[in-house]
Symmetry: C2
Subunit: 265 residues, 2 copies
């Protein structure tokens, strides 16, 4: 069932890879965007949350919260914000929230001021706590044979998302995560060659010509979102509208962070 | 060897947990800060990097790089910046870099402008790509029986870190990760009760009184960094100097991001 990759080539040398159940899932990770019409069992759900709670945390401040979105109206609103038709349909939908509000509230109840909570420093620590927990939960889900998709698209309209979730100041819903029983079998998406992302001591510049072979490999990948069409090469995607100048509501992210009291200085 | 936790209590109800090799490691995760004097094998090292490369990535833009710091001078400098004596001693040291420079360079080589790369939107996507990869690598390391510590402390002096690493603009070294063979056996650090971090649809405020039992549990935990002393309760730590107002070089993080061309608007 699972394809196994036990070796790979780096700088022209063939390497063997360590093999175990966790790593097999990790090196064959594929984002799932179609789920069966079945929700997680209570056992699966609580295991996933328990795993997330055990993620490493900056200074032990545990600055994230998870919303499990089961309300149909909310799921529909989040689907509209994301612009992705699979969001909030089948599968369980979670929103991961950078949560500096909880600790602010604890400090206030204990007669303390906001301290460093408005600093970029602490915001980034909260972001780290939260995003680490997302990946931990993805790995747990995949270890159970479930599929998952991390949803950056929930912030395609950050002000609308905050309104839907009715979140207090000092929080920021950074990512969604949808988990369920896979109803598709995507191909393994080819990643940048390791020598483009991994460096001994010193960072190296990249030449587009070094990515020629990778570009060709990427073009052999079929995106299940449009299965009739091969995708563009990597460098073409990078130079395309994905990163191109345009006006989008995502431009409001910094304003939203400020409004939330985050990342002020 | 590994303690197993197959059940837990949430809102007064006992839940069974799913059990497999991945999850067993995740729910018994302990940060390791003392390593044996032994570096990773080539097989371990390349497996870890291969796993990191397969992490989910925003819009497939793969906006992170990993520096493997083996240069003794650099390891010492990073140890001094972090202020932690175990940093860059035993074990392998990695710096995870939010890397918008690679795609900027690709765009320039293909005759394109910077597009959205200076937006907070794209910076946050790069942060997400990078931090997801950190946790993926932690899980892979732990699955091999290795120990790991995620190092936020590498940014205790963000300007000095950039200088040591000689990184170009449009990059930001967000976290360190040290991996090796554990030379200590810490206790499992108790996490916030699930009903404090996990909500159905609507965010809930927390009362310090709800954390009384948790506060007591936390005080039973011995921190190996000072094994003679129990640690403070959670709410006491939150209301302490950890988050308290003070001047530190970490206040320069936002300025460093701006100087790097990141998160400008």
């Amino acid at each position: 069932m699972v394809e196994l990759y036990h070796h790979f080539i780096y700088e022209g040398v063939l390497f063997q890879m360590i093999k175990n159940a966790t790593i097999d899932k990790q090196v064959t990770h594929k984002t799932i965007r179609a789920f069966k019409d079945q929700t997680l069992t209570e056992e699966q759900l609580t295991t996933l949350i328990e795993v997330a709670s055990h993620t490493s945390s900056s200074m032990f401040m545990q600055q994230f919260s998870i919303l499990h979105i089961t309300d149909e109206q909310k799921r529909m609103s989040i689907r509209q914000i994301s612009g992705q038709k699979y969001v909030g349909t089948n599968g369980d939908l979670f929103i991961f929230v950078v949560d500096l509000h909880r600790n602010q509230s604890i400090r206030h109840q204990l007669g303390k001021d906001d301290g460093r909570l408005h600093q970029t420093d602490i915001f980034l620590q909260g972001v780290e706590d939260t995003v680490l927990a997302v990946q931990n939960m993805v790995n747990a889900a995949e270890s159970m044979g479930l599929g998952a998709v991390i949803l950056g698209s929930v912030n395609n309209n950050p002000k609308a998302l905050l309104e839907v979730l009715r979140l207090p100041k000092m929080t920021f819903p950074i990512l969604g995560l949808q988990v369920g029983i896979a109803d598709q079998k995507p191909q393994l998406k080819p990643r940048l060659p390791l020598d483009a992302i991994f460096f001994e001591n010193d960072y190296h510049e990249i030449n587009v010509s070094d990515l020629k072979e990778y570009d060709e490999i990427v073009q052999t990948y079929y995106d299940l979102r449009d299965s009739n069409r091969r995708i563009d090469s990597f460098t073409k995607q990078v130079s395309s509208k994905k990163l191109g100048a345009k006006k989008t509501l995502r431009d409001e992210l910094l304003e939203v962070l400020y409004n939330q009291g985050l990342c002020l200085k």
